[in-house]
């Protein structure tokens, strides 16, 4: 019995040709690109743009106010602030370019190498990378200052090496993710050399993330470089934004406004880089980002709920349930008018393929739809009360106490950070209001009841210390711990080993009979249905196509879809029967 494996095909990278265009369509991306272009053009054509040479001194313009030829005023030595800003752009960008180039080259190369070859080489490189990352870069640059000399370019080269771990990690992780993709294997099988595989496939995939990292690292470099220059390190004869800030700082008490311009130049440039990176990231993530919850669920009229079921023996009565999730154009319905009736002490199987809406129906009854999901119409009468879209706090009081839930995948449904004992006592203390010691006593009894060989040991174990089958028993114990009237079990055996499946199913059946619970058993497995259910509802595409007594359903399925599902099961169990009626030859 294999669970429906969900083939996760790798999302094809969005059409790359459109990347630049779509970044420019994004308003922030456009603004950022324009600002960056201005800075770059200014840097390149600095001599044409600046009205003065950066070192032109005019003694009478020391700390002068803006005007009279000096657009932004004069600095502490009587030089034109505007002209120095223009030349500063050039020197600042050169430094950033050096750092980024070194960081990207060293980091990406090392990342490709470590990611592709793995093993000991990866361990060593990652250790070096971690080591570099644990050093405060500015302190190292300060310590190296005397030997590196006053040239900021060499400092930025060293800084580039210190920034390489960012690229290294990014590349290594991407390569690790990609190298086992089918197409890389295919390339290897078809005899391409390692180098060509890396160049062809992996570089394509990492291009966009590396571009983002380049923007970010360029921003960091500009800030750190300015910081060094602000501290007075570096060649003070060259106009730089950081050096200008130092000058403005020295004259802060005379002209406080002078600190504005170089700082603004740095901030605007770095902000543009960040916004550009964000625009690219947004573009890349567009595919897998959940649609924003738009529209107004409140506006969807809920039709009159009708009257409560007359028959007091009916515990749950779901009528015309419609569940939807918001998408770009409104709501996508995943459950399209489902009706179910469940009597006290009855086990109802909810059967269908994945995507048929059976789990969503179960979650809707529990009031636990995923973010954005809503009951759009219909009603769920539980014990004489319509609980569809009940306020969360009212719903919470029903959950655990009256309606309980057993999930499909036991390990991921226990909180890894807490001991099992705590996870079992917490709901009892909350829901039943009993003391901790009383809860502990009951939990130990429960653990024994669900077949744990050593309840005490399990009580003090963490989830990762027990097996999947044990974990599922723990979850069942938790679900029944507050004596619920209704148990909703979502594929409770699917994730377990075949031998364990039967045991867990036996346990569920015994508990159901003992406590006279009503159970909704969501499954795709007719074997399970035959084993434990009284009645079955078959779901397809969000609708119930057939509901019947188990025996009658197996004996005489009415709907074609049910027949098909049953046929698929029978294929596994009994040999195919030759049907001459079909007119096909035996040899076929």
């Amino acid at each position: 019995m294999t669970s429906a494996t969900q083939q996760q095909s790798p999302a094809p990278l969005a059409a790359r040709a459109g990347l630049l265009r779509s970044v420019l369509i994004n308003p922030l991306g456009l603004v950022a690109s324009i600002l960056l272009s201005i800075v770059v053009i200014t840097a390149i054509f600095a001599p044409l743009i600046a009205p003065f040479a950066p070192d032109d001194l005019q003694i009478f313009k020391v700390n002068a106010a803006p005007g009279d030829g000096y657009l932004l005023g004069g600095d502490g030595s009587g030089r034109d602030i505007f002209s120095r800003l223009v030349y500063g752009a050039r020197n600042t960008l050169i430094g950033a370019l050096i750092a980024v180039t070194v960081a990207a080259f060293v980091g990406v190369t090392a990342g490709l190498f470590a990611g592709y070859f793995g093993g000991r080489r990866e361990v060593v490189m990652s250790w070096i990378s971690d080591g570099l990352m644990s050093l405060p870069a500015l302190i190292v640059l300060l310590a190296f200052y005397q030997s590196l000399g006053s040239s900021i370019e060499i400092s930025m080269l060293v800084f580039g090496v210190m920034l390489a771990p960012g690229f290294y990690r990014l590349t290594r992780n991407l390569v690790n993710g990609v190298k086992h993709e089918l197409y890389v294997d295919a390339a290897r099988v078809s005899g391409l050399s390692d180098l060509r595989i890396i160049v062809r496939h992996i570089l394509l995939v990492i291009r966009a993330p590396v571009t983002i990292q380049v923007s970010v690292v360029a921003g960091i470099s500009i800030v750190i470089q300015s910081g060094l220059q602000f501290l007075g390190l570096g060649d003070t004869s060259i106009p730089t934004w950081g050096g200008m800030l130092q000058d403005a700082f020295a004259n802060m008490f005379v002209v406080p406004t002078a600190i504005l311009w170089p700082g603004l130049a740095i901030s605007v440039t770095v902000a543009s880089l960040v916004l550009l990176a964000n625009a690219i990231r947004d573009r890349l993530q567009q595919g897998n980002r959940p649609a924003a919850v738009t529209g107004l669920p409140e506006a969807i009229a809920k039709p009159a709920a009708g009257a409560a079921p007359v028959d007091k023996d009916v515990l749950l009565d779901v009528r015309d349930l419609v569940v939807g999730y918001p998408d770009k154009s409104g709501w996508t319905e995943v459950v399209k008018g489902v009706s179910l009736t469940l009597r006290r002490g009855e086990v109802l199987g909810l059967v269908g393929e994945s995507g048929s809406g059976k789990t969503q129906t179960a979650f809707a009854v529990l009031g636990l739809l995923s973010t954005g999901g809503r009951i759009l119409s219909g009603s769920t009468w539980f014990d004489g009360r319509d609980i569809a879209n009940l306020p969360e706090e009212d719903m919470r009081k029903l959950r655990g106490k009256r309606i309980a839930y057993v999930p499909q995948e036991p390990m991921s449904n226990l909180d890894p950070a807490f001991r099992i004992g705590y996870q079992l006592t917490e709901p009892m203390v909350t829901v039943l209001g009993i003391s901790k010691s009383e809860a502990r006593k009951r939990v130990l009894k429960l653990l024994e009841r669900v077949g744990m060989p050593d309840p005490l040991r399990t009580f003090s174990a963490y989830p990762h210390q027990i097996s999947g089958g044990m974990a599922q028993r723990v979850l069942i114990a938790r679900a029944i711990s507050c004596n619920p009237d209704l148990l909703i079990a979502d594929e409770p055996t699917t994730a377990l080993d075949v031998t364990v499946q039967a045991e867990v199913l036996d346990l569920l059946r015994d508990l159901q009979a003992e406590m006279n619970m009503s159970v909704i058993l969501v499954t795709h497995n007719f074997g399970v249905v035959a084993d434990i259910c009284h009645r079955v509802s078959v779901m397809k595409d969000g609708k119930v196509v057939e509901t019947n007594d188990v025996r009658r359903l197996f004996a005489a399925p009415q709907h074609d879809y049910t027949k098909m599902l049953l046929g698929a099961v029978l294929d596994d169990v009994t040999p195919r029967v030759y049907q001459p009626r079909s007119g096909r030859g035996v040899a076929a």
């Binding site: 644990s134 500015l138 302190i139 200052y145 910081g227 700082g263 917490e426 909350t430 963490y462």
Partner: protein, 312 residues
């Protein structure tokens, strides 16, 4: 667990040895002009040579390194070349100043980004937008420029806080707070920007886990789901961010101390870098690495306490 910790300490020791060796080579290689720097332009060759002999930099590099290691292991980091004090005394005196500032900054970052990140993860809305805007601003505004602006606005114009200086906590707690408010404010912005994003992400991840739905299905109170279960599972990511922030703050402090004239480890590093005071620089680097290693191990231990799987 014990094995895990000893492995971490061993690996950190290797890092310490490697980095100090490399730094020593780099720093002492640049010590050529130090005697000239100290004595000034008019020094004669004979005076320079005499000073070099006195400082011991006329000897081969490996010999100097051997001496330095032998002394350093005994806790003696040597004598400053320019400040007339022992390195240990200079470093320890200034370390408390820097640490008090950085600790205040880490705590501020921790509190504000937890509040912002958790609110954004749970409610979205305004907190989400604040984080988005912060992530750009916090990254783009250099902390020293922000510091300068804060000085102009809050110290020079409004006169709410002193523009410069440092008051020891034991001298006057109020004075300490007043002196550190602006520097810490300048330091934390970028940290809050990145940490709150990380907290938000970690919290969203935690809340998406299957067990959160199952906890809710069991009737557990939302406050417990959020603060007991989800938060505890988001904690390792948040703690790791804080350790990264701590390293960034040590560097950031160097510049901020300069802006606010705070006599900390950072400003002494700048001073030593400009004057070529090699023993002080070595002392600072060693101190910083030990600090970083110590904080990282503390964070790892905290993570192991939070996440039982790591304890093995």
């Amino acid at each position: 667990m014990l094995r895990y910790v000893s492995k971490r300490i061993l690996s950190s020791l290797v890092l310490l040895v490697l980095v100090t060796t490399l730094t020593f080579a780099m720093v002492f290689a640049g010590a050529d002009n130090v005697a000239q720097n100290i004595l000034g332009e008019n020094a004669t060759d004979a005076q320079i040579a005499a000073l070099e002999v006195k400082l011991g930099i006329d000897r081969p590099l490996y010999e100097q390194y051997g001496d330095w290691v032998v002394n350093a292991v005994q806790g003696n980091l040597g004598q400053s070349w320019t400040m007339g004090e022992s390195v240990s005394r200079i470093v320890s005196g200034r370390l408390t100043v820097t640490l008090s500032m950085v600790t205040a900054a880490v705590i501020t970052i921790g509190i504000i980004s937890s509040l912002l990140g958790i609110t954004a993860a749970v409610k979205g809305g305004w907190a989400d937008r604040v984080i988005q805007v912060l992530s750009v601003i916090g990254f783009s505004l250099p902390n020293f420029w922000l510091g300068l602006i804060l000085v102009v606005v809050f110290a020079l114009n409004l006169r709410w806080f002193p523009a410069t200086g440092y008051v020891d906590f034991s001298t006057s707690p109020v004075g300490w707070v007043a002196a550190l408010t602006l520097p810490v404010a300048a330091l934390v912005l970028s940290g809050i920007a990145s940490a709150s994003q990380q907290v938000r992400g970690a919290m969203i991840d935690a809340l998406r886990q299957d067990y959160v739905r199952t906890l809710r299905a069991g009737g557990i109170r939302p406050s417990s789901v959020l603060f007991r279960h989800a938060l505890r599972n988001a904690m390792p990511a948040a703690l790791t961010v804080l350790s990264v922030q701590f390293i960034a703050l040590l560097g950031g402090a160097a510049i901020i101390e300069r802006v606010f004239a705070i006599p900390g480890l950072g400003s002494v590093t700048v001073q030593a870098a400009l004057s070529g005071d090699v023993p002080v620089l070595m002392g600072v680097v060693v101190t910083m690495i030990i600090l970083v290693v110590f904080v990282n191990i503390a964070i790892d231990l905290a993570n192991a306490w939070v996440n039982p799987k790591v304890r093995l």
